[in-house]
Amino acid sequence: MANEIQESIARRAAKELNRPCVVNLGIGIPTLVAKYIDDEQVYFHTENGLLGVTDVDEENKDPNLVNAGKLPVGETIGASFFNSAESFGMIRGGHVDVAILGVLQMDQTGKIANWAVPGKNIMGVGGAMDLLVGAKKVIVTTTHTTKDGSSKLLTECTFPITSTRSVDMIITELAVFEVKEKKLELVELMPGATLDEVEEKTEAEFSIHLKQRQFGRGNLNEECSHY
């Protein structure tokens, strides 16, 4: 069940990617997004130094070819390798079109917390903060609630924020929100979800602008367009 929830979120996120597009996927649900991309015009970037990440078979695993989660990956035809400073130059410099990230919490202005928990030692941040300030578009993929059923979409984050930048879109198993001028707009209910359920499970304030959405290929938008 948990798996099907994650897969549905990932499947929905995949529809947000125009072509061509350079995408950085966080660990967890974001990693699943790649499964729902079946063409070559989405280029996956991993911050440890590879543009052109792809799946790898068990028998072709290379211990020195991994993604940012240190999991074995493959390289596409036309892939390139670079060092960490160059990789984060790409990220901070605005050369990565979309980052798809998991979160611990989000607030109603679209700020997220995904790197530290209060009361525990702050031991790791990795590339989370760089992706938040640098990616042209940030999409959050997450379950709507924590394991104990409380909302992850809060009035205010109680965990340390990752950036003052608001994300652009939040995709859960119940709903899709866009963030416009630091306000949440509910734009879509996920299959089977009701408005009542979303309202009940969302602490953050949001407005409702449900729209009929069309997904296509090749309709370049500003995040993903090349010249």
Partner: protein
């Protein structure tokens, strides 16, 4: 192959009057001669040109200067073209001179999302006048802001069909950093190869930096610039 451009006119579609344009090359070496030629044929003016030199007298960017299309030049060595000094004397062009290391570092910073940085180069000289000083570990540095442009016109050796680039010998110079620091990056190349033909470990400019590719028709030879193809 969506990035392949059919000619110089198509390549410069995005260029507008008033734009800031980075142009690769060290003199004519590694300069995008085909794209510069197209720029001289385009009806745009008030350009800010960021390039190590403003070409040579009557060559490369020197032609653009003669057309009075350049409002301002940012570079490290304008001495290579006497016309620049004359135009400056006549008040026709504004110039900003930076040490060559500062020019290349500021462009790199612009491409890497760095707002500015501190360098020792130039401290206490005429080029540091009015620049902010800061002591770091007992040494004096000056602040230099990052540089970005609307357009970068660069030259590479080979591009694959995705836009991954490699460079030839000392024709590399400013081209890889300029490829990172503009909203639109057009690369003029000697050769276009299939994706997969360039070694993934040897690619210098990954394709995410490159928006358009044009096969070069102006080539620098020992006998000067020649038209090719």
């Amino acid at each position: 192959m969506t990035k392949l451009l059919k000619d110089g006119t198509a390549a410069l579609k995005a260029v507008k009057t008033g734009d800031t344009i980075m142009v690769g090359g060290f003199g004519l070496i590694g300069a995008p001669l085909t794209l510069i030629d197209a720029l001289t044929n385009k009806d745009v003016t008030d350009l800010t040109i960021i390039s190590n030199n403003l070409g040579e007298k009557g060559k490369g960017l020197g032609i653009l200067l003669g057309q009075k299309k350049i409002k301002k030049g940012i570079g490290s060595y304008f001495t290579s073209n006497r016309d620049v000094g004359d135009a400056y004397q006549r008040g026709e062009i504004e110039l900003e001179l930076l040490p060559q290391g500062t020019l290349s570092e500021s462009i790199r910073a612009g491409g890497a999302g760095i707002g500015g940085y501190y360098t020792k180069t130039g401290v206490g000289t005429d080029l540091a006048k009015n620049k902010e000083e800061r002591e770091i570990n007992g040494e004096t540095y000056i602040f230099e802001p990052a540089i970005r442009a609307n357009i970068a016109l660069i030259r590479a050796w080979k591009s694959d069909t995705l836009g991954n680039l490699v460079y030839y010998k000392t024709a590399r110079n400013f081209n890889p950093v300029m490829a990172t620091a503009a909203d639109v990056v057009i690369a003029e190349v000697d050769e276009i190869v299939e994706a997969g033909e360039l070694s993934p470990e040897a690619i210098v400019t990954p394709h995410l930096f490159v928006d358009g590719i044009l096969l070069a028709s102006k080539i620098l030879t020992n006998e000067g610039v020649v038209q090719h193809g």
